[in-house]
């Protein structure tokens, strides 16, 4: 008994998380099977799993996941490269910063999603329109965090390198870039969420495949269980990417104190 409690005490957080997830799913299932039995309104986990297995066995899901993944990864990678590039350019040159900063502010605050119908009219129902939207959604958090990271480097470190005779190239590569890395990683992580939202929502409007397309198609046919399968897949995808990037952040910049 005491052995069990001591194990529990040692890993209290993990145990509690597992218990909480199991409890939550059980309550959801109980409400579904005893209180609200309308499959339109509430779909319990068992029915979600059932329809997931059904979809997998019919081979429907892979196509949608693949389509969203391709849109996401293409737009995201281009967004990261250009975001870092522009962030560095803005940090290095004052003139670039002055010219670009109002536009960046406008585009960052703009809900680009609104343009999704227009992009679909322009680039068609296929991949191109979604990649453009994902790109615009992903680029600005990366840009900001790169810029902020490069410009808010600890002045004492710069002085120390200079005091020991370091030149400005050394300062840039030995102090500024390492100092900016954690914030850049944060930018990469934040972009993931925005890019996923961009991909999903642009699929809502018009697509031939993709998780967003799948969710709307299912919920328009009142197949709530299938729509929830899509949402759960997204949750898993988002969570996994988030955790991987968080892990990468910790590896790349272990000295950085993380918030949230």
């Amino acid at each position: 008994m005491s052995a069990i409690t001591s194990i529990y005490r040692a890993h209290e957080k993990k145990f509690d998380a597992v218990i909480s997830v199991i409890l939550g799913l059980m309550i959801w299932q109980l409400v579904d099977s005893f209180f609200i039995r309308n499959p339109l309104v509430l779909v319990g986990p068992s029915r979600v799993i059932q329809s997931f297995l059904n979809l997998v066995s019919r081979g429907v899901l892979a196509r949608h996941v693949y389509a969203t993944f391709v849109e996401f990864i293409l737009g995201y990678l281009v967004g990261v490269v250009i975001g870092i590039g522009l962030g560095v350019a803005m940090a290095l040159s004052r003139r670039t910063r002055e010219i670009l900063s109002p536009w960046v502010m406008i585009w960052y605050n703009a809900p680009i999603i609104l343009l999704a119908p227009l992009f679909i009219t322009a680039f068609g129902l296929g991949l191109a329109s979604k990649v453009v939207i994902v790109f615009i959604a992903a680029v600005f958090p990366v840009l900001f965090n790169t810029y902020t990271g490069l410009t808010t480097v600890d002045g004492r470190l710069v002085e120390a390198v200079r005091a020991f005779g370091g030149n400005s190239k050394q300062i840039f590569f030995k102090v500024t870039v390492p100092g900016a890395l954690p914030l850049m990683m944060t930018g990469l992580r934040l972009s993931v969420g925005r890019a996923l939202v961009g991909a999903i929502v642009s699929e809502f409007f018009g697509a031939r495949a993709g998780i967003g397309f799948f969710i709307t198609a299912a919920s328009e046919a009142f197949r709530t269980a299938e729509a929830l399968v899509g949402v759960v897949l997204l949750a898993i995808g988002g969570y996994v990417t988030f955790e991987v990037l968080k892990y990468a952040e910790r590896k790349i910049a272990p000295w950085y104190e993380h918030r949230v």
């Binding site: 900063s101 227009l118 009142f222 949750a235």
Partner: protein, 285 residues
């Protein structure tokens, strides 16, 4: 970045300040946009590829702004969107701050809620919008719910971090001078966590605006998202850009307003914000 002494500007006039250069840049961008549109309109691509179905020019946007304003459509739709935004957002602030505070102060509840919160935070919850339409139908309530879901987690997590990172030496000082725990709460915890909470609220504004629009694109009888959907279905890009401009202005204004609120609630913190360019928010979540 460099600590070299600053040279005094050679021409100390307002015309060369960075703000003025920003303004020139915006004006130049708009002019280029207009000219490009005019140039395209001369070529046969314009007709062949029906470019006017998805591209508009600044002058056309201004024109459709005038039309929408005159007909009262713009105000009506903005009103509904604002209503949904306010309902959902206020609920998100109340719930987010409350649960964030509880999670930060109670270890057990934190352990139990943490897996759910971090999973839901990483999920693009707008994906739930179609399902919520099935559940609750059309109208203000389901749209506010989408806004709430979009906005609550950044607020919750930032409140949590804010309360967690309250400086312990301040708490100890109050304790040492015989302060009660209510005093610790109101005099230390709340003020010290305010900047983080407001940062969370600022992050949430962007997400909430997107949520409003997406929810309305799906199912609504009025609202800016509805307006966008209506006109883009008719291949009229002008009103779409009008809605975009309105939301950008709203986003920037609410950003500046929250910055003011932050300066007013926690003036000792604002000096850190000054270091970033105005309006350039960094998401440090």
């Amino acid at each position: 970045m460099k600590t070299a002494p600053k040279k005094p500007p050679r021409i100390p006039s307002g015309l060369r300040s960075s703000r003025a250069i920003g303004a020139y840049s915006v004006i130049a961008g708009l002019v280029v946009w207009q000219l490009a549109y005019q140039g395209l309109a001369w070529t046969h691509y314009f007709k062949d590829y029906a470019i006017y179905h998805f591209l508009s020019s600044p002058l056309q946007v201004m024109q459709s702004f005038g039309e929408l304003y005159q007909s009262g459509e713009l105000l009506r739709n903005s009103y509904f969107s604002l209503l949904e935004f306010v309902y959902g957002f206020l609920l998100a602030i109340v719930v987010g701050v409350l649960i964030g505070f509880i999670m930060a102060t109670n270890k057990k509840i934190n352990y139990f809620l943490d897996p759910w919160v971090s999973c839901l935070y990483a999920t693009p919850l707008v994906a739930l919008a179609p399902v919520i339409m099935v559940w609750f139908g059309l109208g203000i309530f389901p749209n506010s719910l989408v806004v709430f879901l979009g906005a609550v987690f950044p607020i919750l997590l930032n409140t949590y971090t804010g309360i967690k990172s309250v400086r312990q030496n301040l708490v100890e000082v109050i304790r040492a001078f015989g302060g009660s725990s209510t005093q610790v709460f109101f005099k230390v915890m709340i003020p010290d966590a305010t900047p983080a909470i407001i940062t969370g609220i600022r992050l949430a504004v962007g997400r909430a605006v997107i949520s409003v629009v997406v929810a309305e694109l799906f199912g609504a009888e009025a609202g800016l998202g509805f307006m966008v959907y209506f006109y883009s279905q008719r291949f009229l890009p002008g009103p779409v850009f009008v809605a975009l401009v309105v939301l950008v202005v709203f986003g920037i204004l609410s950003f500046l307003a929250l910055e003011k609120v932050q300066g007013w609630l926690s003036p000792w913190y604002t000096y850190q914000l000054r270091r970033t360019a105005p309006g350039m928010e960094m998401d440090r979540s």
